[in-house]
């Protein structure tokens, strides 16, 4: 591990200043992802600015029925907060499907948004990776790509975003609030993470030095009926092969409104808008869910070891929708 300078920030503006002034400075929150990457030589910051003690951990109700989650809220705290549990069960379930109790106790919401891919080629500097070293090549395309993307990938990078929380946030149309050297701005969730294209080294549209301060969840009354389904080899403590966040507004046997997002399939949490279009207005039954699933994966492309993900994702969508939709009442 390369030597680095460490300091603890007591004020958001100062933290932003310290990081934006230095190209290789980074924020550190819970450290559960960053430290691993530093130990394996993937991240090589010269300076760490610890933001763990900034007063950004609050979870509060917003005037129009939404909820604001501070960026430093622990994953475990956010998961179990009454406002989250009650209004956005899909988010609670997504949080609790991630990692382990110990890690969730350390992991922050901001850090979760910024966690990096689990592609093994990215994780080991002895192998070529465009995300780690632009222009060096993507080892996964021709290598072992069981966990890799089936949607929205490029020849430069087929890595997937590993977060569970973010899949629920994508479905819930969350807004990421950030503070930069020039002030604050809001980033709609869909614009936060990026597809790899020709710049896979850039996971998000956050600029260097910008600090995530909170995530806003808009009011979505029907989110009470929602479900997060995570499919994985091991029953716990593993990232998703595929996951689905499904939020359904059903009445009189029909789907009035729907939100569907997928995890484990793309470089970013994948909002399945084609599926939502099919769902909206249709009968709340398995046939509809199947059509929606087909639509969601219509543009999918598999690699040597991940063909199964396409079928698995479809089935997971059907199951998640059936569970969220309940009896269709």
């Amino acid at each position: 591990m390369k030597p680095f300078v460490y300091s603890r920030a007591t004020e958001a503006a100062a933290a932003v200043r310290q990081v934006s002034n230095e190209r290789s400075a980074k924020f550190i929150a819970g450290g559960t992802n960053l430290l691993d990457l530093m130990k394996s030589g993937v991240e090589l910051p010269d300076r760490l600015v610890d933001i763990a003690r900034l007063p950004l951990a609050e979870i509060t109700a917003l005037p129009q029925g939404g909820v604001r989650i501070g960026a430093m809220a622990r994953n475990s705290t956010a998961a179990n907060h009454p406002l989250v549990r009650e209004r956005y069960p899909v988010l609670t379930q997504a949080f609790l499907a991630g990692a382990t109790g110990q890690i969730r106790n350390m992991a922050s919401v901001g850090g979760n948004l910024m966690q990096r891919t689990r592609c093994p080629y990215f994780y080991d500097p002895a192998m070529r990776c465009n995300k780690r070293e632009p222009g060096s090549g993507c080892s996964a395309v021709e290598g072992f790509n069981r966990i890799h993307a089936v949607l929205g990938a490029s020849e430069q990078c087929i890595a997937v975003h590993p977060s569970d929380m973010c899949v629920a946030l994508a479905a819930l149309d969350a807004v990421v609030r950030v503070q930069g050297p020039e002030g604050e701005r809001e980033i709609p969730f869909d614009d936060f993470h990026r597809l790899p294209g020709d710049t896979p080294q850039q996971d998000t549209n956050l600029r260097h030095g910008e600090l995530i301060t909170a995530v806003d969840l808009p009011a979505l009354p029907f989110a009470k009926r929602s479900h997060y389904l995570k499919v994985r080899d091991r029953a716990s403590y593993e990232f998703a092969l595929v996951s689905v966040a499904a939020v359904l507004d059903v009445s009189g046997g029909r789907v009035r409104d729907a939100r569907v997002a997928l995890g484990g399939v793309a470089h970013k949490p994948w909002r399945a808008r084609e599926a939502e279009k099919i769902l909206t207005g249709a009968r709340a039954n398995e046939e509809t869910y199947r059509k929606a699933a087909e639509a969601a994966l219509s543009g999918a492309r598999a690699y040597k070891h991940n063909t199964f993900k396409i079928e698995l994702a479809k089935r997971a969508i059907v199951r998640a929708l059936s569970t969220a939709g309940g009896s269709g009442a």
């Binding site: 390369k2 030589g41 290598g143 080899d233 593993e238 199964f308």
Partner: protein, 709 residues
């Protein structure tokens, strides 16, 4: 006798372990310690052409950078008991990815690790072989621990005339031990003698090999290992890093601690080699086997001849007049394989017991009935009777406890909600390897008892059962008995491997305790009550009274064979799996194992061995797999995020039972080995249950979702 043997005594070392008082190797406090970290090869085959250590050498805290250019030449060592004869840092050859190319010693571990990252290496790459399944034409026959081939009867004739035939291939994955505790070695030279604390399953074996490599007498080397955070086989043979730590300590003239990183654990001390197995069966319509051939090919290394015997169980398991087994290896650019919990029988029982299940399906016969039909009363290859075998009782008790008679044999016929339910079973088999051992038992002033033996505690319960055995003989409470182990200054004992310790060391302890009791009786001039021991010493003005014990198995050491008997342990495993009808991820829901394994010294520690074995088998069946990176010639990932072992959420109710048995042919205390038996048969039972749930026969492990979609 006070009947301590057979009591479910809780671990005497439980408290120190959970409170942190137990001191593991890397925790040993040593004055003036320095730290060593390897830099390893990133290519699988070739030569080192340029080594730039200039940055590493001047990095803060660095004391020495050893490479093949400046490491003193070592004496050759042999496998076994070395894990490999190839010694890194002796020349520029690279035969596998992960092979050390430099060893950096610094005043802190962090600084050593940083400096190791600064070593720059250039290579001349050579073509490499990785995936043995693509090169089966290069398979060769080598002699490892066992004969590569066996043959009884006339296979072709029996096969050709049989009415029912079956031939299938089975593939088991490469697996790694992944002990919680990484390998750690502390080496300190004191007045020309080497003092080592080492994570080893055999202190004496380590001493022999380390002394040989360094050109010293064994008496110049002392090796200690007090607690082991899991061995599972990877700390059995002696590996290069142990020797190089001693070399480094000599070079810097200070004690050196070397702890391998998790990634280095994947390339530094073996793995369980995958096997490609072919099972050919022929039977009568009544299920009687008439011909059985089991062939296995495994990857081997470029430097050594370790063989995973993926067909060996078929030599023993079923009564069959025409029986052949064959073992080959294909040399690849990886370090050698090594035993891993339930080697040989473990992999081979997967192929055999899946094939038997398939035969039962063809014959429309109950799988248990088919096994009873082919029950071996004597070893079909060696021709000798079993020293003890109560496998029939295992089948019937297991079936009854599991509720097997309620099984609808039709695949996919049992379900609950979204779950398809599958019930499957398999047999378990493990050879009873026996090794000689010695021990000393001492009555101390005050009436406490000390046992000394140079054996090891690798997590199995040795600190508890040895006191139980001595207590049983001497009539004292086990809590009054203390065991000191893991030190080459103690009476000699073998490796803690092959499930042999209770039987071997236990018999030596039993012998020593018996002799001590005789001495006491003689001294007292007649029978003496345990509470009078202390008084007797006092009256005789003795500080203590010791007796030496010894056990030497009749027959060849390291085998389960004597002149008259052949020795194995057995079991029957019944499992329930659940597979979601749509999502198709398999999960274990229930496991019942009943075992015939000789006398059980402590049912509590024994049960935990068996359930631990079952979890080990569950990992083999559904999760564990070290993936090869064929373009780079290495493993894709070398960490516990990508190598999945079962976690608590994967582990359901596990039930383990033993049938009543005492095997006096195997050992004077009637015990046999159990540590590996529990890991055998589970993966086959699970695969058979998955077939029963889904109708899909998966013949390669692990059984992951894509194979069932």
């Amino acid at each position: 006798m006070s009947n301590e043997i057979g009591k479910p005594l809780s671990r005497l070392d439980g408290r120190p372990k959970v409170t942190g008082a137990a001191r593991y190797t890397a925790d040993t406090p040593i004055e003036g310690l320095t730290y060593a970290v390897f830099a390893t090869s990133t290519i699988p085959h070739g030569r080192v052409t340029k080594l730039d250590v200039s940055k590493a050498e001047v990095a803060p805290g660095v004391l020495k950078v050893l490479t093949h250019l400046n490491t003193p030449k070592l004496k050759p060592i042999q496998h076994p008991p070395a894990g490999q004869s190839l010694m890194p840092l002796q020349d520029d050859r690279i035969l596998y990815e992960g092979q050390p190319v430099a060893l950096v010693v610094a005043d802190t571990w962090e600084r050593a690790r940083h400096a190791a990252d600064l070593v720059r290496v250039e290579y001349a790459r050579a073509p490499f072989l990785m995936d043995f399944t693509e090169h089966l034409d290069k398979a060769v026959t080598v002699k490892g621990f066992f004969e590569p081939d066996s043959k009884t009867g006339d296979f072709d004739r029996a096969f050709n005339s049989a009415p029912v035939k079956l031939k299938q291939n089975y593939h088991l994955a490469d697996r790694h031990h992944n002990a919680m505790e990484p390998h750690a070695t502390i080496a300190a030279w004191r007045r020309g003698k080497l003092d080592m604390y080492d994570t080893v399953q055999g202190v004496f074996v380590a001493r022999t090999v380390i002394a040989q490599a360094l050109g010293r007498k064994p008496a110049d080397v002392r090796v200690r290992s007090k607690y082991l955070g899991g061995g599972y086989g990877c700390k059995g043979f002696v590996w290069p890093h142990q020797i190089l730590a001693a070399v480094a300590a000599r070079e810097v003239r200070r004690p050196v601690k070397l702890v391998l990183t998790r990634a280095q654990d994947y390339t530094s001390h073996g793995y369980q080699a995958a096997t490609e197995q072919t099972v050919t069966l022929a039977a009568g319509r009544d299920g009687q086997l008439v011909a059985l051939r089991h062939e296995s090919v495994a990857p081997g290394s470029m430097s050594d001849d370790y063989v995973e015997y993926g067909a060996i169980a078929s030599r023993t398991m079923y009564a069959c007049p025409a029986l052949e087994t064959r073992h080959r290896i294909v040399r690849v650019n990886r370090g050698p394989g090594t035993p891993m919990r339930a080697p040989q029988e473990g992999p081979s029982m997967f192929g055999l017991e899946c094939a038997m299940d398939e035969l039962a399906v063809v014959l429309k016969m109950d799988p248990v009935e088919l096994r009873l039909k082919n029950y071996a009363e004597r070893d079909p290859t060696k021709g000798k009777p079993f020293s003890s075998k109560k496998l029939r009782e295992c089948y019937s008790e297991g079936a009854q406890r599991f509720g097997w008679e309620r099984r609808n044999p039709k695949p996919g016929s049992m379900r609950e909600g979204h779950d398809l339910i599958g019930w499957g079973m398999a047999s378990a088999l493990m050879e009873t390897y026996r090794f000689p051992a010695t021990a000393r038992v001492t009555l101390e002033r005050g009436g406490t008892v000390l046992i000394e033996s140079g054996t090891q505690e690798i997590g199995t319960g040795v600190y508890t059962i040895m006191p139980q055995i001595a207590a049983d003989v001497l009539g004292v409470a086990p809590e009054r008995v203390r065991l000191v182990l893991g030190d080459t200054t103690l009476p000699g004992a073998g490796m803690t491997a092959g499930s042999s310790t209770t039987m071997g060391v236990g018999s030596a302890v039993h012998d020593a305790a018996t002799k001590l009791k005789q001495k006491l009786t003689e001294m007292a001039g007649g029978p003496i009550a345990p509470d009078a021991y202390a008084d007797l010493l006092k009256r005789r003005r003795l500080e203590k009274l010791s007796a030496e014990g010894l056990w030497k198995p009749d027959g060849e050491a390291g085998t389960g064979e004597s002149k008259e008997w052949t020795m194995y342990t057995f079991g029957a495993v019944f499992v329930e799996v659940r597979v979601d009808e749509s999502l198709r991820v398999p999960r274990l829901a229930r496991c019942v194992g009943v075992y015939s394994a000789g006398r059980i010294i402590n049912p509590k520690t024994a049960r935990s061995q068996m359930t631990g074995g079952m979890i080990w088998g569950l990992g083999q069946a559904l999760l564990e797999h070290t993936e090869l990176e064929l373009n780079y010639g290495r493993y894709v990932a070398k960490d516990l995020a990508n190598y999945l072992v079962p976690v608590n959420a994967d582990v359901p109710d596990l039930e383990a039972y033993f049938v009543d048995e005492v095997d006096e042919h195997a050992s004077p205390i009637g015990a046999k080995g159990i540590g590996e038996l529990g890991a055998v048969g589970v993966s086959a039972a699970i695969a058979n249950a998955v077939y029963h749930a889904t109708g899909v026969r998966v013949r390669d492990l692990p059984i992951t979702v894509e194979k069932l979609l």
